[in-house]
Every structure is written in structure tokens, then in C-alpha cells.
């Protein structure tokens, strides 16, 4: 698959189609949410409000299931990850548009944000000293492996999403070129499922990484249950 082309440049700043599409998504989210939440009613919710409440409550429940009592803190970041990745993945279904998540730059940026948020929420939850101490548990010898795990899971996060979405679009394009107009329809339906599954996986892994960072000081105190979430995340 070819790299996203530059749409226009502002001086040395080259704006690619990925960025333009993402701006379009921002506009879509912004206008859509503003229109949908202008007149919310606690007594008589409409269809759109009910759908929005269902989405928000589902995200809230998922976060609360992993980190009880922290849903309010993590909802903006994790929820935005889920919504953005899901919609960005589905954008590839629109003709003449490519999914922003089929660009490694986007997935790397998201993974980088996840990497930063893990440390941000971990330090905020346990304090800098306690948070850094968990890299030395159960033994300081494991520090390189901890650091390697941090970077590798971030790269894996970016590569997984990029690889899946890019391959889906490419597969659909190849089938369309080889077989004809309507043959890629099953591939496109598979694209929908895969897009939602990858969004769920990306958000869930981010949530698990953040939960691991926030619970690191507890893990360092209880060495019998070390970094279970990190192990799970790194092997996904």
C-alpha cells in the first residue's frame, strides 16, 4: 500500500491525506456531538441521546470492570481511543477515503500517547518514586526486561492496528481489482467486524496497560502477583 500522499504544504509542514481525514473526523465528532448533546433530557431521552448514553455507559462499565472506581478518570482518554479508532477504521469503507489507522504514523502516534498515558496515570496514581520502583521489582535485574517490554508492547500496539487495517484495505482493493465490482462486499463486511474488533482490542490493551501502570505500586508490594496485566498485554 502506498504511503499517504501530501495534500498540501504550509511551509515545511506537509499535510497528508491522513491528517486531512483526521480533521474531517474531528469535525464530524465535534459537530455531531454538539448537535446531539445540545438538548439532553433526563426525563425523556430521544433515540440519539439513548444511543449516546448507551455508548458512554458501555465504555464506563468496561473501564469500571478493569479499574473499579477509576472510570471517571480514564473515560475521556480510553473512550476517545475507542471511538476514534473505531470510526477511523470504518472510514476506509467510504470510497476515495483511507482509514487514518491504515497509516503507521497515526497508529504510532496513538501508541505513543498510550505509552505516555501509562506513565502519566501511573505516576499520578502512585507517585513518581513508587511508580519507578516497580521497574526494580521483583529484582533490579529485571529492569532491562521491563524497559524492553514497555517499548515492545508500544510498538506492537502500533504495528498491530496498522497491519490489520492496512491489510484489510489492501485485500479489499486486490479483490476488487481481480474479481469485479460486487465481489469485495463480503470483504467489506469483514472490514466492519475487523475494524470494530481492532478498535476494541486497541482500547482494551491501552486500558490494561494504564491499569497496570496505576496498579504497579500494589504489584511491587505484592510480588506474588507481578505485572499480570503487562504480561497479558505484551502477549496479545
Amino acid at each position: 500500500m502506498e504511503a499517504a500522499g501530501v495534500v498540501f504544504s504550509i511551509g515545511w509542514l506537509h499535510i497528508t491525506s491522513t491528517v486531512v481525514t483526521t480533521w474531517g473526523l474531528l469535525l464530524f465528532f465535534g459537530v455531531g456531538c454538539w448537535l446531539a448533546t445540545r438538548r439532553l433530557s433526563a426525563d425523556k431521552p430521544g433515540l440519539v441521546q439513548t444511543a449516546l448514553e448507551g455508548v458512554v455507559q458501555s465504555i464506563d462499565s468496561a473501564i469500571d470492570g478493569v479499574l473499579p472506581g477509576r472510570a471517571e478518570l480514564l473515560l475521556p482518554f480510553v473512550g476517545t481511543l475507542w471511538l476514534f479508532v473505531a470510526v477511523a477504521n470504518l472510514t476506509g469503507l467510504i470510497p476515495e477515503l483511507h482509514s487514518p489507522t491504515a497509516d503507521l504514523s497515526t497508529t504510532a502516534a496513538l501508541a505513543f500517547l498510550v505509552f505516555l498515558s501509562v506513565h502519566w496515570y501511573g505516576i499520578r496514581s502512585a507517585g513518581l518514586k513508587e511508580y519507578l520502583k516497580h521497574y526494580l521489582t521483583p529484582s533490579p535485574i529485571l529492569l532491562p526486561f521491563h524497559l524492553l517490554g514497555e517499548f515492545s508492547r508500544t510498538i506492537a500496539l502500533a504495528m498491530r492496528l496498522f497491519g490489520n487495517i492496512m491489510s484489510l484495505e489492501m485485500a479489499a482493493l486486490l479483490v476488487l481489482l481481480v474479481a469485479g465490482l460486487l465481489v469485495p462486499v463480503p470483504i467489506l463486511m469483514l472490514h466492519i467486524v475487523e475494524a470494530l474488533v481492532q478498535a476494541y482490542i486497541f482500547g482494551t490493551l491501552a486500558l490494561i496497560y494504564i491499569a497496570g501502570g496505576m496498579q504497579s505500586h500494589e504489584a511491587s508490594e505484592n510480588t506474588e502477583a507481578p505485572q499480570s496485566n503487562d504480561k497479558k498485554g505484551s502477549t496479545t
Partner: protein, 248 residues
């Protein structure tokens, strides 16, 4: 597959902008609405709980009052039953008394009625007997019977007690002569014997006057003033009638 650092940086900025947009226009209003609804539901639940507690309290109070009412009802019923039994006993006693009085009054009325009937029967029987005797004696009356009654008069006068003779003597003294009344004309012999017998018992007197009166049926009557010594069938029937009247 290549990494464009400009895109990388802009995507980071874009994501942070999207984070702000969603937080501002989606999460905050939706969560506020949910919190408001949750608060409303909690308020409704609290009201429902309060209403339930109030209902339970009212139910308990009602059950307590109901139990009190049942006890009061049982006590009132027992009191009413006792009063009813007492009133029934009193009424029965009054009724028994009235019944006994009524029975006594009825018995007295029956006795009075029976006595009246008996008297009427006695009177009727006496009247019938008197009529029968009058008819019989009237049929039997005659000079022979009168002769025998004159003889009987003489005999009875001879043995008449002094207590009965005393008024006759007093009547004789007050009025002079005596009158001998007979139903049939007396023979001279009979007149002399009568005069002798009267003289013997009443002493000396004036001449006796002999008169006839058929109403006597038979027999004689001696009249001395207001006093009479009657030995006639009519006199006997009169005595009989008087006795019958007395018997009533």
C-alpha cells in the same frame, strides 16, 4: 510503510483535540445527564422507600388499631351479651310474674264465672223446684190437706219454743185480737180446737177472726199484729223460695 513525523505530530495534536472535543461535547453533558437521571431515580427511590416505610408504619398502626378494635368489639359484645342475658332474665321474671298474675286473675275469673253459673243454676233449680212444688202442692191442695195442716199447726204450736212465743204474745198485747187465715172454710170443730190451742199457748186473748184466702193453697196462718205464725203451703213455699235466695 513509512513513518511521517509531521503526520505523527499532527495526529498527536489531533487526538488531543478530539479528546478535548469529546470531553467537552460528549462525556461531560452525557455523564451530567446520567448523573441527573440517577439522582432523580435515587430521589424517586428515596421517596418510594419513605412511602413504603410510611405505608408499613400505617399498616402497623392500622393492624394495632384493628387489634384494639377487635378487643373492644369482643368486650362490647361480651358486655352486650351479659346485658342481654340480664335483660332477658328480668323480662322472663316480669313475664312469669305477669303470667302468674294473669293466671290467678284468670283462675279468679273462672271461679267467679263458675260461681255465677252455679248460682244461676241453683237459682234456676230453686225456681224450677219452687214452680214444680207450687204446681204439685197446688194440685195436692184441698180441704183434707188443710185439715191435716190444721192438726199439724196445733201440734207444732204445742211444742213451739218459748222464744218464738214471746213475740206473738207481745203482738197480741199490742193489737188486741188475732186473725186466723185459711185457704178453705174451717169447720167449727177446727175453729174451737185452734182457739183452744192458741189460748193454751198464748194465754187469754180476744176473739179470733177467721178469714179465707185462697192464696194460702192450704193450711192456716195466725196473725197477731205484725207477727205471724204461718202453717200454710204458700208460706212454706215462700220459706222455700227465701231459702233458695239465701243459698245463692
Amino acid at each position: 510503510m513509512e513513518l511521517n513525523w509531521t503526520t505523527f505530530a499532527l495526529e498527536i495534536i489531533n487526538f488531543l483535540a478530539l479528546l478535548w472535543i469529546l470531553k467537552r461535547f460528549l462525556y461531560r453533558p452525557v455523564l451530567a445527564t446520567l448523573a441527573e437521571r440517577r439522582a432523580g431515580i435515587e430521589h424517586s427511590l428515596n421517596e418510594a422507600r419513605a412511602a413504603q416505610a410510611n405505608a408499613a408504619s400505617l399498616k402497623t398502626q392500622f393492624e394495632s388499631r384493628l387489634a384494639d378494635w377487635e378487643q373492644e368489639k369482643a368486650a362490647a359484645r361480651a358486655r352486650f351479651d351479659a346485658e342481654l342475658a340480664s335483660e332477658r332474665a328480668r323480662q322472663m321474671e316480669v313475664l312469669s310474674r305477669d303470667l302468674a298474675a294473669e293466671r290467678e286473675r284468670s283462675a279468679a275469673q273462672d271461679a267467679h264465672r263458675q260461681e255465677t253459673v252455679r248460682r244461676e243454676l241453683v237459682a234456676e233449680a230453686g225456681s224450677d223446684a219452687r214452680a214444680f212444688a207450687s204446681v204439685l202442692l197446688g194440685n195436692l191442695a184441698g180441704p183434707d190437706l188443710e185439715a191435716r195442716l190444721v192438726e199439724l199447726f196445733i201440734d207444732e204450736l204445742a211444742v213451739l219454743p218459748e222464744a218464738r212465743l214471746a213475740p206473738l204474745r207481745a203482738g197480741q198485747n199490742d193489737h188486741g185480737h188475732g186473725v186466723v187465715t185459711s185457704a178453705y172454710p174451717l169447720a167449727e170443730v177446727q175453729r174451737q180446737r185452734l182457739s183452744s190451742a192458741i189460748d193454751a199457748r198464748l194465754g187469754t186473748h180476744g176473739p179470733l177472726e177467721f178469714v179465707e184466702d185462697g192464696k194460702l193453697l192450704a193450711g192456716v196462718r195466725l196473725s197477731l199484729g205484725a207477727w205471724q205464725l204461718d202453717f200454710s203451703l204458700a208460706g212454706e213455699l215462700g220459706v222455700f223460695a227465701e231459702a233458695s235466695n239465701l243459698a245463692r
